[in-house]
């Protein structure tokens, strides 16, 4: 469904992604793991059109996304849960979700948006409870749920998540990952970027390891979980996994 070939991009003169290739097939859950500064988020920004692609190509359902504006990429069916959630703090929870359906409203599918609102609030009951509260007053976990709910409102065929576990308590992280797994079972194709390597690989079909802008490893999630290099570099030393070890 998504195929990236030899992608290069970056900020100013710095090339943060130095020729990355990957593919996501329909219905798969793919995890990209890597340390801080390895280019994970940059890669996602490029996919969503928030960062200009320098070279290479990004094909989504056989359309080249290169040079496309972020909003037309959303219309193509890619929806992102951005790093650090980035919910719209001055808007109510309800308005945040409605913002997620922005492209739907544009197409005049108001009824569908209302339906989706119900579905998502059934999925996250806490959001229904707090629908009139300002989003900025939610806790971290609730904000993450809101960010996921908002992304789902666009009815994406590919959901892209940027570090959904960031800054959350282990219990909440568990819940978020369970949600992601649930979505996958419902048939949403998911591209997940995570520092919490073990948790991310546990629920994934396949994984990629990104290191200083290059893909250094790829394989099925089971293979990567037992790979010695991955174990040494990401499963033992990553701070995120200290918490994991306790449960």
């Amino acid at each position: 469904m998504l195929r990236i070939k030899n992608l290069k991009c970056g900020y100013g003169r710095i090339m943060a992604i130095q020729g990355v290739s990957l593919s996501v097939r329909q219905g798969e859950l793919i995890s990209i793991i890597g340390a801080n500064g390895s280019g994970k988020s940059t890669l996602l920004l490029a996919i969503c059109g928030l960062l200009k692609t320098w070279d290479g190509e990004i094909l989504f359902k056989d359309n080249d996304l290169k040079g496309m504006s972020p909003q037309s990429i959303v219309r193509q069916g890619i929806s992102m849960v951005p790093e650090g959630r980035q919910i719209f703090a001055p808007l109510s929870v309800m308005d945040n979700l409605k913002m997620g359906g922005y492209t739907m409203y544009r197409k005049g599918l108001k009824k569908q948006v209302e339906q989706d609102l119900e579905t998502i609030m059934d999925m996250f009951p806490i959001l229904r409870e707090r629908q009139n509260q300002l989003a900025g007053t939610l806790s971290g976990g609730e904000q993450q749920m809101l960010a996921i709910g908002r992304a789902l409102m666009a009815r994406p065929s590919l959901l892209v998540l940027d570090e959904p576990s960031m800054g959350l308590a282990p219990k909440i992280v568990e819940m978020i990952f369970a949600t992601i797994q649930g979505l996958r079972q419902e048939g949403v194709t998911i591209l997940l970027v995570e520092q919490n390597a073990r948790a991310a690989l546990k629920i994934a079909d396949r994984g990629y390891v990104l290191e200083t802008g290059k893909m250094v490893l790829q394989g099925s999630a089971e293979e990567l979980l037992v790979d010695d290099d991955v174990k040494r570099a990401y499963l033992g030393k990553d701070y995120g996994n200290f918490y994991d070890g306790r449960d």
Binding site: G49, L50, Q71, F88, M99, Y102, R150
Partner: protein, 323 residues
Amino acid sequence: MAEQKKIFIEHTLFLTIVLLCGLFVKNIYYLQIMTFVGINTMLALGLNMLMGYAGQVSLGHAAFYGIGAYTTAILSTTFGFSPWIALICSVGGAVFVAFVVGLPTLKLSGYYLGMGTLGFGMIVNIVFREWSSMTGGSSGFVGIPMLEAGPILFISGKNYFFLVWTMVFLAIILCRRILSSRMGRALRSIHDGENASMAVGVNTHFLKLQIFMFSAALGAIAGFLYAHFVLFISPESFGFMVSVKMVTMVVIGGMASVWGAILGASLLTLLPEVLHSFAEYEMIIFGLILMIVMIFMPQGLTRGLLDIYEHSRKHVGKIKTGK
């Protein structure tokens, strides 16, 4: 539903106050001041949409105010157009200029956008000053005709007061309609940063451009009302200080609030009049009051007064329940 009821009550209250002021205030001077409040409210409303909701600072908004005023002045006086046609041209001209200027400048953000718009405001002001064959230069433009609609002549006083406040009321309704729509949500969403808005599919650049053009239109209407009210315009009325005053109105009144625009405009228009009695200390006291408001009500008057109200209600409640 509750929301709609609240809005209905607010609007009724607003109209009642305007009506009472218009019918019972006989003093021409007071009516004039209140007309100025209305014109300034129109300015603040437009800037508030841009600054308060979308979070984009403009330090050159007086330019649109001026474009509105000069366009109607030149068209209706020099070329003898009907002022109502001139109004359409004023708004059209300001919107067009906003489009051309906004296309490149709105790619900037924060301080840089402030600087960009500041430069724009200055250029426009220089044009007013130097293009003397058209604008009358720094000595000003005289002989602007009064407005009339059929048998009604809008001379300063009651008629003009009602004209201005009717327009303000229409502008308020328009702003509210925009704010409660899909576009309004998108607008508020870009306040804190644009990336997330882009990620849900908002064309942020175009949206900012649209709202910039909208606020320019309100500015031009205010300019039109000003020109046909005062009947004399000069570049000073649309200079840098006026832009700053507009920003102050929005900030003092309370950003992201339609009523804040009215409060801010009222305070900044009425206060200098009230303070005239202090003669040479006027500006010092004026500055002090603004400082005090900002220190104790950093969110602006609207939020500040609401906080006081809610606080006192809690207090009263406590006394009643005997705690």
